[in-house]
Symmetry: C2
Subunit: 457 residues, 2 copies
């Protein structure tokens, strides 16, 4: 039986001590691939601790792919030769200097940004607002901007929110940090796997427990969420990154029911890319379906305007908005007042919606070009396209016998940046497809797509 | 003997469970004022836990003023009727609408800001930088700004730092959050008491253990820092807020020696107000005295430029700069690229130093006016002024028999905002002076000072 010394005086929770110990034993080879772990009950009784503690430790090992479970049989050590973590953050792993054509997913086409309008409004702000620009503002951001955001969410997303529920901050990453401070770092957080690696990093630095949640065809797996004992789940329902799944209404309702069934459960709805929905209106936001104040809605202007514009916002349920005010209201708003006024003006004068409509047309055309290229290529009968109804990328499952890694590296030799789907898995998963590509079109125009697509296959 | 159930399965560290239990017993009145707590050794043996764990719990209770220690005799419950926490954050507690004259400490005189120069440079940035303004920048901030900051620190503070060690971010509060993520939330952090309440709030939300450290006449007490087992201490050596102490070189060296004597000890040197030193150059920064990479230097432009300009920066020792890059380099810089270019230009063209010199002259004059008013008032022989060599406030110990609270409330009735020193104590301290005022002059001009000073006493 596994035995080690539990340190009751340590600040590290016991489940974490068990997790670290077993992980070390696996990594050092003391626990061999295929070896059976003691049952949860036996281990708990042997160590004189509760079964729940062992369960939490096993759950983390399971979710990170160190062990696997066989129904009715128990837990076994995974083959540790499986690469445990993706070594590089996607989009940074390729040397930018060599890339001539960019099918990456974090690229941005800054030529689409209406710079002259923005500059004009910036100048007007400088002329009109003088003293307002120097004094610090409400901790939630200036009211005119929060009012514009509330109206936009009403028109575009059918959401009924008060400007008082909105918190403006320097980008989604910063706002996620605030959410962890608000809900507490001892909550068990879940993030989608595959997903944005950064999201996982933020939670794992600031919170005690983070579990990568596997996806099924409808989105984050409800059974996994329940199994890990998660309190707060971060999801991208409008267009899952990178699988491209738009979460169907039934899963949205299941997720909400999951939160309702226990006190202090929340959903963080990261609605980025909801603006780029190519078939009619986007599905209703979880926030607008929620009847019990369990959804925190998060979005950003970074993706719709420009990467350098670090403005995001979140909509808190009323009781959390009040908790934020009393516990975190001492924080100053992190976005300069100048940028806030300029953006408020940009929205109030209709430029934002016009801009969204314009870039949506451009991106739709690029997507159509890309799909046409596939249909007219030798891949035509040897591929499956998914995630094409929304967002700024599609997923191609390539079935011509070429594995993903070969496709990615031969593309790179031709100066083409493209990502394999496996790159987006922060943790091993039994269902990782080995022959799928994630093809972004936010950093490449239609002409270039046509020009280089044939070089790919 | 105190007895309760230690929950080994909980994620809450045991010392924290003990702390919470005893605190609850005190607050509920089960443990009466003056009652003796069991000795650390007896309690540890009774509960079958380590003495260190009990020590940590007692240390926290002690530092928060729930218990007191008598040399050679043990620990006793404090009189709980002592207000445990300052109920309101200073500067927000007074209804701004009624204030006509503002001796507050967080006020800002935005009329001093060279708005037309700033607006001109903003326009130039918009004209010149177009695409640079849209792409995201280095996670540390744009290089031209970090170069300007490094040069400024060299000229003004004699510090030799590389732009690679500098991280630009949306204000000191945000940067403190990053520091906690960088050093780890399980470190024991110390903050000065009295001090900025916000600093204490930030640490207590994001870190597991925070200890308010009492001050002696040279600054944060070294014996208290050592006694609490602190790893990282936050200090304001240039001009302590609010006591106004400029930390003498001997205490600076003692602090550095304290860090050198153990692995993983750090000082966060919050150098705000170093720009406002009225007697020659400011004392050397701890950062420039440090030979072993133990000082994180922090400063902000919010205080020197305007409250709405959320730009701060920190200088990390080289090994921490490298750790930041590898662990937190995925975070995007939170300051808009536009503001960064404008500020870089403002510094490069010499406006920043000219601006500092100008406002320093203005503030010095206000300080002189204030001191003259005191000397020519009935207080002349019944008061002691301190903290007048630097910063934007002084401390007056009033010895005419009027207690602080009466002074503050009668001032408020006359439309004058002024703070009592006790407001800045986040926690009880045996030496809180009951008759001192903290008088700020960043939000009131010389003419007004002369006009209203006589209304005060």
């Amino acid at each position: 039986m596994l035995t080690f010394h539990i340190d009751n005086t340590s600040n590290t929770p016991i489940y974490q001590q068990i997790y670290s110990y077993i992980r070390m034993e696996i990594e050092s080879g003391n626990l061999k691939s295929g070896e059976r772990l003691p049952s949860k009950r036996a281990f708990a009784s042997h160590m004189n601790i509760s079964v729940v503690t062992v369960e939490t430790a096993y759950g983390q090992l399971l979710s990170e792919g160190y062990i696997r479970s066989k129904a009715g049989s128990g837990f076994y050590v995974e083959d540790y030769n499986i690469s445990h973590e993706v070594e590089e953050i996607p989009d940074i792993s390729i040397d930018c200097a060599d890339v001539k054509y960019d099918f990456g997913t974090s690229s941005a086409d800054t030529s689409l940004f209406p710079f002259s309008v923005w500059a004009k409004l910036s100048r007007a702000t400088l002329n009109e607002k003088t003293t307002d620009l120097l004094n610090s503002c409400d901790f939630r951001g200036i009211k005119p901007l929060r009012e514009e955001i509330a109206q936009y969410l009403h028109r575009f997303r059918g959401m009924e929110v008060s400007p008082d529920q909105i918190i403006v901050g320097a980008g989604s990453e910063y706002l996620l940090g605030l959410i962890i401070q608000l809900l507490g770092r001892d909550m068990a957080y879940g993030v989608e796997n595959p997903g944005y690696r950064r999201i996982y990093d933020i939670f794992s630095i600031s919170a005690s427990r983070v579990f990568p949640v596997p996806m099924d065809e409808k989105g984050a797996s409800i059974s996994a969420i329940s199994g890990f004992g998660i309190n707060v789940i971060h999801v991208t329902p409008s267009h899952h990154f990178p699988l491209g799944i738009t979460m169907p209404i039934v899963r949205r309702q299941e997720l909400l029911q999951w939160t309702y069934s226990k006190h202090e459960r929340y959903i963080i709805e990261d609605d980025c890319d909801c603006e780029f929905c190519y078939n009619g209106r986007p599905a209703p936001a979880l926030q607008s379906l929620d009847k019990q104040e369990r959804v925190i809605y998060l979005n950003t202007f970074t993706r719709t305007l420009a990467p350098s514009i670090r403005i995001g916002y979140m909509v808190l349920p009323e009781h959390l908005a009040e908790k934020f005010r009393s516990r975190l209201g001492f924080y100053s708003c992190t976005v300069p007042v100048f940028e806030q006024y300029t953006l408020a003006k940009f929205m109030a004068e209709g430029h934002f919606e016009r801009h969204i409509n314009r870039i949506k047309r451009v991106y739709r055309q690029r997507r159509d070009t890309l799909i046409n290229c596939i249909k007219n290529s030798p891949l035509s009968n040897h591929s499956v396209i998914s995630g094409e109804d929304a967002g700024l990328h599609i997923v191609i499952k390539v079935m011509n016998g070429m594995p993903q890694n070969e496709l990615v590296s031969s593309a790179l030799k031709a100066g083409i940046k493209i990502h394999g789907l496996t790159e987006y898995y922060s943790f091993p998963d039994s269902n990782i497809p080995e022959n799928s590509l994630v093809v972004g079109f936010s950093g490449i125009d239609s002409e270039q797509i046509e020009k280089v697509f044939n070089l790919l296959f």
